[in-house]
């Protein structure tokens, strides 16, 4: 009924499949590994690269939060390019996870403003190339709420109970809490930290859920489950407007939050030349214009401000220096400070 030949057959089959799988990968041509936020894999961003290297596959892996990306890299995740945000850049450099970048090989280096590129410079060498900078602010479904919020404090308004979603990140919520309480972020005393924790716990009855992924938030707001996102990235705004959903990106009286993110080449990258070509492709005028038009982010390639859709630039105040002045940018945290902020967030999440 079941001759032992079957055993041999299964073993042989198994070995064949495994070796075929491995062999298949090797003969399919070169591959560039990019570790990205989900949403940035769009071919429009790297069209120049695809044209230049038609036989190279770009393999994307995704993460939803900087900590997740760092943890993976620190535990040996293999990739060529990473795209973390500035608050973490120091950590990557200190842990030897990235290699210095030769800016002479970058086609669009001259068009990048210094206030952005300076952040990626450590120990006299450039480790990160800025790509996008953006705001983080409140996003509202204007058709669902009676009153549009004008301050971070209003996230706590019971009128929005059960329809607020916030980003599941200790750093972000620490900022939101600090701004709502009128503290100066990155300069809080332990008593203020405790007050922030309590304040965040008080927000929980208003929350529907935490969002961990930008596209998740888009779905939640599109379906009308979430009326107020505190906070959201500009790309959520653009994607919702594209679907015809009435939303507004708020300018809170305490100021918006802001961040810069960019590309680094990993220390053990296997395709360094391809990595440079990829960076050149995504920082090209076309790609960066597309970024502004589609996602509403600020682009590192300053020339793109002129080629982008003026309405978008206007709506997001990308060229407006006064907004930038009021914006609170994320700063690098020391590991100890980060641990405190994150552990406080853990307490908020754990409390009933």
């Amino acid at each position: 009924m079941f001759p032992r030949k079957w055993v041999i057959l299964i073993v042989v089959l198994g070995v064949l499949l495994v070796s075929c799988g491995g062999g298949g990968a090797a003969t399919s041509g070169a591959k560039l590994n990019v570790f990205e936020w989900s949403g940035y894999e769009l071919p429009e961003f790297w069209a120049q690269f695809a044209a230049q290297h038609p036989n190279v596959t770009v393999d994307f892996s995704f993460f939803g939060e900087d900590a997740e990306a760092f943890a993976k890299l620190q535990t040996g995740f293999q990739t060529d390019l990473i795209h973390p945000c500035a608050g973490w850049w120091q950590l990557y450099v200190d842990n030897g996870l990235v290699q210095p970048i030769d800016t002479a090989r970058l086609e669009n280096w001259a068009d990048m403003p210094e206030f952005l590129t300076k952040q990626g410079e450590f120990n006299g060498q450039q480790y990160f190339i800025p790509w996008e900078w953006g705001y983080e602010s409140i996003l509202v479904r204007t058709d669902k709420v009676d009153k549009v919020p004008t301050s971070w404090k209003e996230l706590w308004d019971p009128a929005y109970a059960g329809h607020v979603a916030i980003y599941d990140s200790g750093e972000t919520q620490y900022m939101v809490g600090a701004l709502a309480l009128g503290y100066e972020p990155f300069n809080t005393t332990p008593e203020q930290d405790e007050a922030i924790v309590q304040k965040l716990i008080e927000l929980k009855p208003n929350l529907l859920t935490y969002w961990t992924d930008n596209t998740e938030l888009v779905q939640l707001m599109a379906s009308g489950d979430v009326w107020v996102a505190g906070s959201a990235w500009p790309e959520t705004l653009m994607l919702l407007l594209e679907e015809g959903i009435p939303v507004e990106y708020i300018d809170p009286e305490e100021g918006r939050m802001g961040y810069v993110c960019g590309f680094g080449i990993t220390a053990n990258a296997q395709n360094v030349d391809l990595a440079y070509d990829y960076i050149n492709a995504v920082t090209s005028l076309e790609a960066m214009t597309y970024l502004i038009d589609e996602y509403g982010y600020g682009a590192a390639n300053a020339a793109a401000l002129d080629t982008a859709d003026p309405e978008t630039v206007e709506m997001l105040q990308l060229a407006d220096p006064t907004i930038l002045n009021d914006t609170v940018f994320y700063q690098s945290l020391t590991p100890e400070r980060r641990e405190a902020v994150v552990s406080n967030w853990g307490r908020v999440k754990a409390s009933p």
Partner: protein, 266 residues
């Protein structure tokens, strides 16, 4: 008295039957709804019914990420199930045929992966791989699956081995075979249904495994990891739903096969 109890019996019988039907409906309804709506001509999973279409199935065939994930899951499933079955069979042989000090401790340890929460398993193995410097790949996922499936494979084969003549190997050896020959030519074929059942059950577990895999996967994803990442995006759901329908069918077939084998081996 007889009449009363038989009416009572019939009442509880129909009550029981009604409950059974209700329970079964509750179990199947969500799944069936998914299958039915995978044929719906609408971009989201919602009423009303827009017409019958196969376009989602066609789109499925073109979704390279998805196909790659399925292929990875099949590879990991096959190889890890093979190893788990082999190791489980060896362990079963040891448990059933031998006595040694620490046997019950071994049995307890071997059974533990069955009841350790997945998050702890995943985390512990992640720590191991990190410390030793092994990068996360499909191989690390496979190792995790082997450990998860080993206990159950062992139990299935042990149940079978315990069921027949304890001295069968000796009998074969009396006829001139050596020990390993006896195992290969006599014991193994006789336990084949249990081995195949163990293999299939390991495969279905591995194919659907998410909680531990999440911690051990690198850039190559398995199907459950891919599914999880898609669960947040309802707009891509029609594809996921069609995949669900296909997977349901396959699971049903495999479960039926395992059941048949299990019954054949007892």
């Amino acid at each position: 008295m007889l009449a009363k109890s038989s009416i009572g019996r019939r009442f509880t019988f129909s009550l029981g039957a009604a409950y059974f039907v209700l329970f079964t409906a509750f179990m199947y309804l969500p799944i069936l709804l998914l299958v039915v709506f995978s044929f719906n001509d609408s971009p989201t999973l919602a009423f009303p019914w827009n017409g019958f279409t196969l376009r989602w199935y066609a789109a499925l065939a073109q979704s390279t990420e998805l196909i790659k994930a399925v292929w990875n899951s099949v590879l990991v499933g096959l190889l890890s199930s093979l190893i788990a079955t082999v190791l489980g069979t060896l362990a079963a042989l040891g448990i059933v045929r031998f006595n040694f000090p620490g046997k019950s401790i071994f049995l307890s340890v071997a059974a533990m992966p069955l009841v350790i929460p997945a998050v702890v398993m995943g985390v512990a193995m992640l720590i191991l791989f990190t410390m030793v410097g092994i990068p996360l790949t499909l191989w690390t996922v496979g190792l995790g699956h082997v450990i998860i499936n080993l206990p159950y494979a062992m139990l299935i084969v042990a149940a079978r081995l315990a069921g027949f003549e304890a001295h069968i190997e000796e009998a074969a050896m009396d006829l001139g075979a050596n020990y390993w020959g006896a195992l290969w030519r006599v014991t193994l074929p006789m336990s084949m249904p249990a081995l195949v059942a163990a293999f299939l059950s390991s495969f279905t577990t591995s194919f659907d495994e998410f909680a531990v895999t999440f911690f051990l996967a690198g850039s190559d994803t398995t199907l459950p990891i891919y599914l999880f990442s898609q669960l947040r995006f309802p707009s891509r759901l029609p594809l996921v739903v069609t995949l669900a329908a296909i997977m349901m069918l396959l699971s049903v077939l495999i479960v039926l096969a395992v059941e048949k084998l299990r019954r054949m081996s007892t």
